[in-house]
Symmetry: C2
Subunit: 446 residues, 2 copies
């Protein structure tokens, strides 16, 4: 299908291509445009039915939107822009170069400009930047029949009509009523009598992560956004929340992997930018790993007299690192989803102690058998390594389990505290125990 | 508020408590029940308005649902059960012990039992297990007026009335129409003329991850589920997809942290279960880390003559591990969100080569300066460590970037290939390079 349309376009059969495109879902049509040769894009775009082309435009990537706007006349550009929902329009403006923004803004009317500027001022990850203003507002004195009639008149330009909002004259949110309730109620009933008045709302400055948590908890499809005076300023729909949830999970993952978070897709990020996102943490962790080197040097003579001790260092460090990141990952995720609270510190410590004891004993035992019977490395070496391994696993899991909670208590980001930092702590502890045990058990003079 | 209600209940003021509970959101009310003392739960539950108590029940945890069902009479239990949407009812049955299931099923009618059994047979992570059957079905010959009248009659028991489905006599899905479209259309229009016929649908056996991808891509709130013969069998709503997205992200995280994935919340998982989920990978990785030990032993004499070499091993291993997991994490996430495809292997390799070269040079340089000027460890040692560091970072990032894609090509799970496994590969490569460079540059006989 896609190939067929692209080849029709290549052959200049635009009208045939147009008909095929019109039968596509709007998202698929927008994706198709990403693959059309630049020189044909505007030609094809212009012959599409206007409603459909505006919708396709709103689903294009920013790069393609920029190309389309750039090659259009001012009049065409402003037409497209006027058809966008306000949140899409603002997102577009944020991505466009200054000259394009100027071109568009000079052609919009004063009210719109004020609104746009207000939206551009909301912090990047706030509810304000997620919301849109195209909601249905009803009056509480309306009958159901009047309300439905009103929705019929104005509904076409609204993001959703499935949930409607009731405000007083100063735009204070008074109630919410679903289209479902309106449809299922008698025509003569007054909106006031059937609307819900105990409305869960979001503040414009709430963080998008908290917004996602509300949607997750209450299974809403739409939520109202109010300002400090409880005036209704917009709505957030669940499709935007899906993106937030993906984005927040990606961000946590990136931080756990010691990368600066970035919202740009991997393949669309420049190599310099990728390198810049990764170098700082690599540097910090590289330098902190030299502590571990320092410990090894302190026990230089012990190491020199029993060089086989060096052979077990990688295994101890890796196992400690893995054990710690198992715990920290579960805890960080639990904190992010609200399943674990900072008040659960003691419970988490208790659980991690039990779990790490079980895991530690199994690992130490397997390790002992391997060293003693397969590697024939001597009883005392086997004991030293196995006891160190057990303690390392316990310490790693307790540190891995509690450090993220501690970070959250200190209003730091739990994900930052993850894997790598914990690894450094655990490595240090493991080596100190290892060498002390070794010098003591093996009777090495240090 | 919560404390107030709980204390009213403790004092036996049930009616006052009832009124307070009725003013709560249903999710909050269900959460409140989790904290009520067991001996009061049924008393309070019984005096709530029936509609509200059924809704609260559907939001309770399985443990609490079990407690409530257990303490009820058969008649009460079946009433509650009948009020549940089919998907919630099936989820409940899956969690209940056999005797409770028997008790409920013996009281439901034959049709319902057949349906429930069919649902219980869908694979755990399939679309079938996510869907519910309470959708609105219209006939294509209906006028808009008739359709709206029909919705008014049957809508109350439906999961959503915002999207309605049109089927032929053999239940083959013919079209979809939104309530919005119905409301905004003229009353005399025939449904057939305004419904969308190019319907995107899900198959009962599709994986829930693919379902989430469709919702993500097309911004739907509801999607129809069909069987192999394209007969409509149910719908999936976006609120269930939110849970799937959270769950899939958690699963990927757990696998990347070398833990067996589990759907149970951390605090609700037993310590034995947690230990069992963690031990297998820890064991595998512990044993594979002994390869690294083997390499160190092979260069025992080199190490013994220049013992300072041992001090840099942890830093090299940690940095390699961090560099690799930075890359693998970004790639695994990109694959999960569909931003990176298996056909992008060469592009990813190219990018990772560039990024790792930049990062490697910066790290190697800082490292060289530190070793040479601060630690005064000698020029040749500084060169050996820095060159090894550079190569390690490049190898780590290329392995970390390509291994997940290779796994996906081989139909394995990219997340399993993550951090820990890559660390072992990178450690081995790093140590071989390190000791070879050292023996060559420092002229050590091995």
């Amino acid at each position: 299908m896609k190939e067929k349309i692209l080849s029709l376009i290549e052959q200049g059969k635009y009208l045939e291509a147009r008909n095929e495109i019109c039968s596509l879902n709007v998202v698929d049509a927008a994706n198709l445009f990403e693959e059309i040769d630049q020189k044909h894009i505007l030609l094809v775009f212009r012959i599409l039915p206007k409603d459909f082309s505006s919708e396709i435009f709103s689903h294009m990537s920013f790069d393609l939107q920029k190309h389309v706007i750039d090659s259009m006349t001012d009049e065409e550009a402003i037409n497209i822009f006027d058809d966008l929902f306000l949140d899409d329009a603002v997102d577009l403006l944020e991505e466009m170069p200054a000259n394009v923004v100027k071109r568009i803004l000079k052609n919009t009317d004063e009210d719109m400009r004020v609104l746009i500027n207000q939206f551009l001022n909301y912090p990047a990850d706030s509810a304000g930047s997620l919301m849109t203003i195209e909601y249905v507002d009803l009056k509480k004195e309306m009958t159901v029949k009047q309300a439905l009639q009103y929705i019929k008149e104005i509904g076409i330009d609204k993001r959703t009509i499935n949930t409607c909002y009731v405000m007083d004259n100063s735009r204070i949110l008074e109630g919410v009523i679903s289209l479902r309730k309106l449809i299922l109620s008698d025509e003569s009933v007054i909106v006031k009598d059937i609307m819900e008045t105990d409305v869960m709302s979001i503040n414009t400055h709430d963080d998008q992560e908290d917004v996602a948590a509300l949607f997750r908890k209450y299974n809403y499809y739409v939520m109202p956004v109010v300002d400090k005076e409880y005036r209704l300023v917009g709505i957030i729909t669940v499709d935007d929340v899906l993106d937030v949830i993906d984005q927040e999970a990606t961000e946590d993952l990136q931080k756990m992997a010691a990368t600066m978070p970035s919202e740009t897709e991997y393949l669309k990020t420049s190599n310099w930018r990728l390198a810049l996102n990764r170098i700082p943490w690599l540097l910090i962790l590289m330098i902190s790993a030299t502590f571990t080197g320092g410990i090894i040097l302190r026990y230089e003579s012990a190491l020199q007299s029993v060089i086989i001790l060096a052979a077990f260092i990688p295994m101890l460090m890796d196992t400690g690192g893995n054990a710690g990141s198992q715990s920290s990952t579960l805890i960080i995720r639990g904190l992010a989803l609200g399943e674990i609270k900072t008040s659960d510190t003691l419970r988490v410590m208790g659980k991690e102690f039990c779990v790490s004891s079980i895991a530690g004993i199994v690992l130490a035992l397997v390790n002992f058998l391997r060293i003693y019977f397969i590697e024939n490395a001597g009883l005392l070496i086997a004991i030293t390594v196995s006891v160190t391994l057990y303690i390392t696993v316990v310490v790693a899991k307790i540190v891995g389990g509690t450090l993220p909670i501690a970070a959250k208590k200190l209003k730091l980001d739990p994900a930052i505290m993850a894997g790598p930092l914990i690894t450094t702590i655990v490595d240090t502890v493991a080596l100190i125990i290892y060498f002390n045990l070794a010098t003591w058990l093996l009777g090495i003079r240090s």
